[in-house]
Amino acid sequence: MEQLLQQIVNGISLGSIYALIALGYTMVYGIIKLINFAHCDVYMIGAYVGYVCMAKLGLGFFPSLLASMLVCTLLGVVIEKIAYKPLRNATRITALITAIGVSLFLEYTTMFFASADVRTYPPMTGFMAKTFKMGDVVISAQQILIALITVILMVLLQLIVKKTRIGKAMRAVSLDKDAAELMGIDVDSTISFTFALGSALAGAAGILVGVYYNSINPLMGVLPGLKAFVAAVFGGIGIIPGAMLGGYVIGIIEVFVAGLGYSMYRDAVVFAILILILIVRPAGLLGKNTGEKV
């Protein structure tokens, strides 16, 4: 039983990270039907910004979190402006290849400036270094932090999307671009805003991973990016609560597989899930099965 609880605790931490990344995939897909392969590298950049802030500039966690989110927001907006906007009317495959190009560009530019070496976040001190024991279940302060920050960001996101003017514009553009334009919605800036939101969340995920796992490297985004993408598909791509749910489910499954002693298969299982969903329920858990298939 303790074992089980412990796995769930660990799974929630990992799942939070996947969920934060998956949200960016799903929102961008929802609005321009593009699988933004560069998104996982925005997350990586977020981890590096956090590293620079905490290890080099000696900033605390929260200012570093804000810095990561801010830099990633800008990066996301710039990527959209430079790489994707000119391709708005191009075929989907063109945009997809461009996204892969942007992804490689970010990875190797980071390697150029920061080297391919693994970097380690400074050890946490004070409260952040604490662990709490409940029976045999160990929860670290970092895990609490990850779970809390993720939930707060998700609530904020939901508020933005459901209640604000720009959030309504986002949903309108996702549903029907022409009709949105006829309402007087500025479609370009709405798309830009969507990239900004998704990238900010990826930035948060990046620094949280840095704090949690300590080590970062320029290719660190690739695998979590793919898994977050699986999470987005699992929940129903384009559907925000779907990405949240998918993130947690994938995170928990992965930890369980590892916990059962099949650590070698933890990645394979996630991709097996992807294949399974695409066969059984291509629109995802929360999707309507009439929707567009990925």
Binding site: A169, R171, A172, L175, E181, L182, G184, I185
Partner: protein, 234 residues
């Protein structure tokens, strides 16, 4: 109010509009009728800014808006109910209507207009919390019209509002268009249902493969032999 001068529109090599000119005066209902593929939808989409013309001019109240964005055109009073209704299916009726007032800041006036729309379409008031995609075809058409009215337009562009509706509903929609017009909104109505359109229109234009081939008052065109043959079933 609205003047379109010598409008040409291309889709790649397809020359869809070949010099369309038309005028809509303040307070009028003007209808544009024509067969499938004649260019009716393209005309409206070009007027509302969804499609850029190759050449020609669009003038609203003396101001050249040919190069204005769609957003700008909504702001200065053009509202377009697109072909096929295009309501935001995954949003509620109320959210759809609120989006119609997206560019407006005058909260109290918006609330008044919302009430007006609900008076015009009581069924929408009952279903304000319902997702637009779950409405019937007729209700969706009402929502699309209501949503367009929420921007408080000077001119309302309607693209085949009767499409796919039962005769009784068609009559209701046309009555509403007349109502809206008599409350001061100018209307440019695209229709395949020529008989109904000509009945309520002050003036009409006939479009054939991208050209205006005939124009006159609604009554005149109703009597025209050509029109009877081609559009009114003899």
């Amino acid at each position: 109010m609205l003047e379109v001068r010598n409008l040409h529109v291309h889709f790649g090599v397809i020359h869809a509009l070949k010099g369309i000119s038309l005028t809509v005066n303040d307070g009028e209902i003007v209808t544009l009728i024509g067969a499938n593929g004649a260019g009716k939808t393209t005309t409206l989409r070009t007027i509302s800014g969804l499609k850029k013309p190759t050449s020609g001019e669009i003038i609203l109240d003396g101001v050249d808006i040919t190069n204005a964005s769609a957003q700008e055109r909504v702001r200065i009073g053009i509202s377009h109910v697109p072909e096929g209704r295009r309501v935001f299916s995954n949003m509620t009726v109320l959210e759809n209507l609120e989006l119609g007032a997206y560019l407006r800041k005058d909260k109290e006036e918006i609330a008044k207009d919302l009430k007006k729309v609900f008076d015009l379409f009581p069924v929408l008031a009952d279903r304000r919390k319902q997702l637009a995609g779950t409405l019937s075809g007729g209700e969706q058409q009402m929502l699309a019209i209501g949503r367009a009215l929420m921007s408080r337009p000077k001119i309302l562009l309607l693209d085949e509002p009767s499409m796919g509706l039962a005769p009784l509903l068609v009559q209701e929609i046309f009555n509403i268009i007349k109502d809206v017009n008599s409350n001061g909104t100018t209307v440019l109505l695209v229709e395949q249902n020529a008989r109904m359109a000509l009945q309520i229109a002050h003036r009409a234009y006939v479009i054939e493969t991208g050209r205006i081939v005939l124009s006159g008052t609604g009554a005149e065109l109703m009597e025209s032999e050509e029109i009877k043959k081609a559009y009114l079933g003899g």
